[in-house]
Point group: C2
Chain length 218, copies 2
């Protein structure tokens, strides 16, 4: 990487951290320049506008999310094991991020009434994530892991609500055991929708998943 | 009501409408004064501070919410019929408000990182509402409408997530059929947790509920 690229990456990393605390809308070139010990024009040289910077932060957030939640989840076999692996990681990450503020979930409220390119980027990302969840749930349905006729779109809606409730209770209400509660609710949602022996074998697999396959089964 | 009280009520009503669009944090005495065709000091005479005004808006919102969602729900008999009546109204209201922005749900994101009296008021209200939901679900459990052992706190967590997902998808993603999807998910949650013939009879009751009892059965 050239020096210019390195600086850009460092600016985005600092902006990601800052905006988790102050919100994407609270992100200013001034605060960022101060944090980086750079001049404002130095920061501006890497981003044409504040909007470009906000979009770069969203993209960096998505990249980390994919690396930490989706890719490791994809190492689990298709069907219930994969759906569980993805959800486990997502719920855990949501609880951790709720301490600071999840850029996506908090951003959803910040931007739902602010038309423009940042909102569009956020919508694109949220839809992409919902598609990944839908794909994992659909594979579970196609493999016969779910009861016949389980409406996949509704199941995904329910799972999304679970993450939102976890974020809400942790962040607004400071309920200390929200993560374990969300996990128990997830088990109950699975119990209501999954074929019992498939669920049992997914749980068994889980205990032996200490050495996951290094390559995702896409 | 004296003239002063009437003015105060009118200011709060205008502030409620304004803050649904711009957020509680976006509410300014200036914008409100302009809307009311009053002087800023005229508005200030009724509220000691912007925080007092924000808290008055939250209280007014809660009052309407109780009048529109909780009180009519309480006219349904305890147990599944009441839980359904409350949830039906809450989901419908959430979908309607998502167009403008629900002060509670949007407020949860606005204030989750802003300590102070407005946040405290909001937390008190959200907890009070969760207690009402818990009471309705607990009554359903106590009456044997739910399967034995259904954890009421987890069921309420799930139902709260459903409303959050409805608000999220309607407001951020503009998904047009979110309300009917949320209703179907609610039916599925009930089907997973309720005793089948109790659920069937709650559904039957529903068809004949044209003339609800005028007094809530508390």
């Amino acid at each position: 990487m050239k020096k210019g690229e390195l600086t850009r990456v460092a600016i985005v990393a600092a902006a990601l951290e800052l905006s988790a605390r102050v919100g994407l809308e609270g992100l200013t070139i001034g605060a960022l320049a101060e944090r980086m010990q750079m001049s404002k024009s130095g920061v501006f040289a890497h981003f044409g506008s504040r909007e470009d910077l906000q979009i770069a932060v969203l993209k960096a957030y998505e990249q980390r999310f994919v690396d930490d939640v989706l890719i490791p989840g994809l190492t689990a076999p298709r069907g219930l094991p994969r759906l569980r692996a993805i959800m486990d990681r997502w719920l855990e990450r949501t609880a951790l991020e709720a301490a600071d503020g999840c850029i996506w979930i908090s951003g959803a409220s910040e931007y739902d009434d602010r038309p423009g390119p940042v909102r569009e980027e956020l919508v694109t990302m949220v839809k992409a994530w919902q598609r990944e969840l839908t794909r994992a749930a659909q594979q579970a349905a196609d493999l016969g892991d779910l009861h016949p006729g389980v409406p996949v779109a509704e199941l995904v809606f329910e799972l999304y609500g679970l993450a939102l409730a976890l974020h809400h209770d942790t962040r607004l209400l400071n309920t200390p055991d929200s993560l374990s509660r969300a996990r128990r609710v997830f088990q109950r949602i699975l119990a209501a929708n999954a074929v019992p022996d498939r669920l049992a074998s997914a749980l068994l697999n889980d205990r032996s998943k200490k050495s996951p396959s290094p390559l995702p089964h896409l």
